[in-house]
């Protein structure tokens, strides 16, 4: 015996006309949903679609960042307070700190600290100005505060050129072997140069040689003369 299963359909579905309308309405709804779905996907980072583990990580990260920033705020507020109170000693110390930072950045004085020495040997094919520039950029990305190449200090206006016999830095010709000194966390700097596809790999695959040594104490003697700003002057903030 067969048992017939019948589903009761709503009134509107029983006429062909009603079904047609319903079909059109469904397609219409689909149109709306498509736009919503696309818009929803447009939002840069949808926390709502992240899994619990990811959310915990993000929250952790943000909390850490917040803590760091709050510490920083407290410190800066203390500095501000002490400067406002006019304590001469504090003001001088703050100024000295600022000068030290600027000396590091502008490369106008010899500096010393932890760092690495990179010895690069290679012909014009394996080592050119681009490789050196890459190296400098990789070092800076890894947090190098001062860099010297074959006795020439690398600062923000330093440029590299290819010449017939090697490379020139700021018009000073240098040849292989290139001795690069960089101050910063030695471990980080060395790792940065050794990443796959990085400077070390690209030089060695094209026939050059790279030797990286880490030093607990390293001195960069080279410096650049202090120049008087010609086209711009600092604006004094009050």
């Amino acid at each position: 015996m067969k048992k017939k299963i019948s589903i009761k359909t709503p009134e509107t579905l029983q006429t062909p006309q009603g079904r047609k309308y319903l079909a059109v309405i469904l397609v219409f709804l689909l149109g709306i949903f498509i736009t919503i779905a696309i818009k929803q996907n447009d939002q840069p980072e949808l926390l709502t679609s992240a899994r619990e583990g990811e959310l915990v990580l993000i929250l952790d990260d943000l909390t850490k960042q917040k803590d760091l920033l709050e510490d920083e705020l407290i410190k800066q507020n203390q500095v501000l307070e002490s400067l406002k109170n006019g304590s001469n000693e504090d003001a001088r110390k703050a100024a000295q700190d600022r000068i030290d930072q600027l000396i590091l950045l502008s490369g106008t004085a010899p500096v010393s600290g932890r760092g690495i020495q990179v010895l690069v040997t290679g012909d014009l094919y394996s080592v050119n100005s681009f490789t050196i520039l890459d190296t400098v950029q990789e070092l800076r990305d890894a947090g190098a505060v001062a860099i010297e190449i074959n006795g020439v200090r690398v600062i923000n206006s330093t440029y590299f050129n290819d010449t017939n016999s090697g490379i020139s830095i700021n018009l000073t010709p240098i040849r292989s072997p290139y001795k690069i000194l960089a101050l910063g966390d030695p471990e980080t700097l060395a790792t940065a140069l050794k990443i796959p596809g990085g400077m070390s790999e690209s030089i060695t695959t094209s026939g050059g040689q790279v030797v990286i040594n880490q030093y607990p104490s390293l001195e960069i003697q080279a410096s650049v003369p202090l120049t008087t700003p010609q086209y711009a002057v600092p604006v004094n903030e009050k």
């Binding site: 579905l13 062909p16 079904r19 047609k20 319903l22 079909a23 059109v24 309405i25 469904l26 397609v27 219409f28 709804l29 689909l30 149109g31 709306i32 949903f33 498509i34 736009t35 919503i36 779905a37 818009k39 929803q40 996907n41 949808l46 709502t48 679609s49 899994r51």
Partner: protein, 111 residues
């Protein structure tokens, strides 16, 4: 023709009104859209083969969307939501491609 107009009006209304979806619905929406698209492609194919039945279209549209949502929901509960969503999307996409191929063949044969 009318369904195409309906779809376009839907898109325009969606852009203009910019409705927000409730949070609990958001993971299901993309899957539901793809499931619905599958139904639409199936309908186009059926229409070209002169076997279109609005009853079947409506029921396939509804059941596709529902089943897709249920599968994703179940996957989320079981902790394999992403994988199951991927599976659903892959299967639906395959069906859409198959339907599209059928539609194409049908259009060429008409000439």
């Amino acid at each position: 023709m009318i369904p195409v107009v309906g779809l376009l009006i839907g898109v325009i209304v969606g852009i203009i009104l910019d409705p927000t979806v409730p949070l609990w619905m958001q993971p299901y929406l993309p899957i539901a859209v793809i499931a619905a698209l599958d139904a639409v492609f199936g309908a186009i194919r059926a229409n070209l083969e002169d076997v279109f039945d609005d009853k079947i279209f409506i029921s396939s549209f509804a059941s596709n969307v529902l089943i897709a949502a249920v599968i994703v929901f179940l996957g989320d509960q079981l902790g394999v939501g992403t994988q199951l969503s991927t599976g659903v999307v892959v299967v639906l996409a395959m069906r859409i491609f198959a339907n599209a191929a059928a539609i194409r063949r049908n259009l060429f044969n008409r000439k």
